[in-house]
């Protein structure tokens, strides 16, 4: 765990050093410490105010946002995989992403100039679309008081397919806005602002605390719902809480950065392969690794064709997939996880 903390800190520093304009790592520290109240180190060293602006107004919020989004995706991926006892599950499995995409595309095409608290229509509609979808899916899957997870999964997949079709339909008629739509769906952290960080970080923290309080219950749920219930887990209540927490995480992540694939699917598997399925370790470790991974890949996305940028989703998959396959091969057996149940 300590190693993972170090990793994410290194990733943060690296992300602040590299970019279209390179800022030396010493200067990065000086600028950062300088901004703290009651501290001053700048004596003797000249720091360009442009660098200071780039670091504090562009790179730092972007790094923090990448950390929050990466952690949120990885943690919610871990929760969905555990809840559904299905290794194929990812943060988008029950249709949150499709709902968010529909909201976002709708906002882009209709050209709403709505703005609440400084936010444009696109993130607001995306968030609404995501949360709306999960509510519909939940109610579709409900049988009386209970929500069987398999029904939930299937209802989610059905809703996802339906909404994706609508998104494709809208995209087809997107005209000159096509570029914008496609780019949003590839996901990216370009243009991150402090304001986004201020909204995203509390969501990420709240969602994380909410799900991590139930790590022990999630462990029991891995043995199957009935067994968990025999062990004293109030399964229906726990499911509701976990769904709420992880849906908030996903919806917040998607609405700030579009659909970034792979992180949420692979990071939890990665941690499980190395450290086992105990969610009391899996959730914080996934948060740190997910954050670090997204910071690192986002930095690459900024650097490879600087001053232009690649969508970060492309990089995560290009780098993450081969590493994951390597790990699978090395471990040979994929028995750390039950099949579809």
């Amino acid at each position: 765990m300590g190693g993972l903390v170090l990793l994410i800190l290194l990733a943060m520093v690296g992300a602040m050093v590299f970019g279209a304009v390179s800022i030396g790592w010493k200067n990065v520290f000086i600028i950062l410490i300088d901004t703290l109240p009651f501290a001053s180190l700048s004596a003797g060293i000249e720091i360009s105010p442009t660098h200071e602006d780039i670091l504090l107004q562009i790179r730092l919020p972007r790094v923090l946002l990448a950390a929050a989004v990466g952690s949120s995706l990885a943690v919610s991926g871990a929760v969905f995989q555990g809840l559904f006892r299905n290794p194929m599950a990812d943060p988008y499995v029950i249709g949150i992403s499709s709902g968010a995409a529909l909201g976002a595309v709708f906002a882009m095409l209709s050209g709403f100039s709505l703005a609440v608290g400084g936010f444009g229509a696109v993130p607001l509609f995306a968030f609404g679309g995501g949360i709306g979808t999960i509510l519909v899916v939940y109610n579709m899957a409900r049988v009386g008081q209970a929500v069987p997870v398999m029904t939930l999964l299937l209802a989610g997949i059905a809703a996802s397919a339906f909404l994706s079709a609508l998104v494709s339909l809208l995209t087809y008629f997107a005209g000159e806005k096509l570029h914008m739509v496609v780019f949003w769906m590839m996901g990216g952290l370009g243009g991150a602002t402090w304001q986004q960080v201020q909204v995203m970080v509390p969501y990420a923290l709240a969602g994380y605390i909410c799900v991590s309080l139930f790590s022990r219950e999630l462990n029991a749920m891995l043995l199957g719902e009935e067994t968990a219930s025999h062990l004293g887990v109030n399964t229906e209540r726990v499911k509701k809480i976990l769904l709420t927490g992880s849906s908030l995480l996903v919806a917040a992540a998607v609405s700030t950065s579009g659909i970034i694939g792979f992180v949420g699917l692979v990071v939890p598997h990665f941690v499980r392969l190395v450290a086992g399925p105990d969610h009391r370790f899996l959730l914080p470790a996934s948060a740190l690794l997910g954050g670090a991974l997204l910071i690192a890949t986002d930095t690459l996305a900024r650097v490879v064709i600087a001053p232009s940028e690649l969508p970060v989703g492309i990089i995560t998959s290009l780098i993450g997939a081969p590493i994951f396959v390597y790990l699978l091969k090395k471990r040979k057996q994929l028995r750390y996880f039950g099949g579809g149940g």
């Binding site: 043995l223 067994t227 062990l231 004293g232 086992g276 750390y336 039950g338």
Partner: protein
């Protein structure tokens, strides 16, 4: 310790199909109860109601006079532990992790497992004999080992009642009795109330002291083995003819399904056969003749003999003599008549003693009258001879025309038309 479980007027249906219909019974503190019944009789459904997985549409379940629906999840898990038929376990939790999950109902949200919990885990693993597996991944264990780990977890829950739902269905006979013996030990030593749904009646009678027989979601019989496990009850609930007998070593009741005549059997022999005597080694002869559709008469046998039980079960004419006595004149005369009415007479591999040697006076009479007599397994006669006179007697009969057959298969060839040579 021990929990009083009262089930009253349960009703539950899957769709239009009623599964539990006014199910009512009481399990006393410290009882160990086997829940018997055919597939679909409602055993598992009933256990799933008690373990709060299913909610019955009507009726009450009381644990020590507390309605289970009102219990908090953790409170219920401190009272009851469940061992299901199978537990999904394809992930990398260690055995110790799995057993430790049995402490879940005792831990508050921010409470860590402490020394006491670890001690209870250690003792539970020791009792169920899985200590040496502690660090193994549950995914790498065999079915029998896995079930013992699940049992260890149940013990770790320190329950006052233990519910087992077909816990032995996928185990070999060694693990079957080991697992049920563990449940019986919890019941004996810690007075834990045990209820187990179980298919294998003959296994259940070894490990439980009370029995509840379910049929169509109702309690058909409840009580001691002798009150519940009767041929009539088995016939009514499982729909198969059955007979009961005492286990030769343990004396517990055992059940076995009895084959009736197979109506599709082509080789109906059509002749009347009389079989002499009984005893276990003669049973294959009775069974074969009956299956082949022969008219069968039996005698003389004592009332406790397996041949006598066979004759009673299939309502065959039988001559019964009191045990430990020789036959009187009336019996011998009746026997002679019976043999005369038959088309052929069979001497199966029976034991020979001073008591039954006189029977063969009559056999020789009908042999002289020209009735075919078949002796099965002449070579093995010394092992069954307690009089020392059997071989010479049988050899005398062979000279008088009796035919020796090696085995019951040869007899089948004789009585089946076209299947073998007909004597005379």
């Amino acid at each position: 310790m021990g929990l009083n479980i009262e089930v009253h007027g349960l009703k539950l249906a899957y769709g239009a199909q009623p599964v539990l219909e006014d199910t009512t019974f009481t399990v006393e503190r410290g009882d160990s109860v086997a829940l018997l019944g055919a597939n679909g009789a409602g055993k598992s459904t009933l256990l799933r109601c008690i373990s709060r997985i299913l909610k019955p549409t009507a009726g009450h379940i009381l644990l020590d006079d507390q309605e289970i629906a009102r219990l908090d999840s953790k409170e219920a898990a401190r009272m009851m532990a469940v061992v299901p038929q199978e537990t999904a376990a394809d992930f990398d939790f260690s055995v110790e992790d799995i057993v430790m999950m049995g402490r879940f109902p005792y831990l508050k949200r921010f409470q860590k497992e402490d020394q006491d919990d670890r001690e209870i885990v250690r003792r539970s693993m020791e009792m169920t004999g899985v200590t040496h597996l502690a660090d193994r991944s549950i995914a790498t264990l065999s079915g029998g080992e896995k079930q013992r780990v699940v049992m260890a977890r149940a013990v770790c829950q320190q329950p006052q009642a233990l519910l087992l739902d077909e816990p032995t269905a996928n185990l070999d006979i060694g693990y079957q009795s080991m697992l049920l013996e563990l449940a019986a030990r919890l019941n004996r030593e810690q007075k834990v109330t045990v209820i187990a749904a179980i298919h294998d009646i003959n296994l259940a009678v070894h490990h439980f002291n009370r029995f509840i027989l379910l049929a169509g979601g109702r309690v058909m019989a409840a009580g001691r083995a002798e009150e519940v496990i009767t041929p009539e009850n088995i016939q009514k609930s499982y729909g198969v003819p059955a007979s009961t007998y005492r286990h030769p070593l343990h004396g517990v009741l055992q059940v076995s399904v009895v084959r009736g005549r197979n109506p599709d059997e082509k080789n109906n022999c059509g002749s009347e056969v009389h079989v002499i005597g009984g005893g276990e080694e003669a049973m294959p002869v009775f069974e074969m003749l009956n299956q082949s559709g022969c008219g069968l008469t039996v005698g003389p046998v004592s009332a406790q003999d397996s041949g006598c039980r066979f004759a009673h079960f299939h309502s065959l004419p039988v001559i019964i003599v009191p045990p430990f006595t020789s036959m009187n004149g009336a019996h011998r005369k009746e026997h002679l008549e019976q043999m005369r009415n038959a088309d052929l007479v069979v001497v199966p591999p029976i034991p020979f003693g001073e008591g039954n040697l006189p029977i063969f006076d009559e056999v020789r009479v009908i042999l002289k009258e020209g009735k075919p007599v078949y002796i099965i397994d002449l070579d093995g006669v010394e092992k069954r001879d307690y009089s020392g006179k059997a071989r010479s007697l049988l050899e005398q009969m062979i000279q008088e025309g009796a035919v020796v057959l090696k085995s019951v298969e040869d007899l089948k060839a004789v009585i089946t038309p076209g299947g073998g040579e007909q004597n005379e």
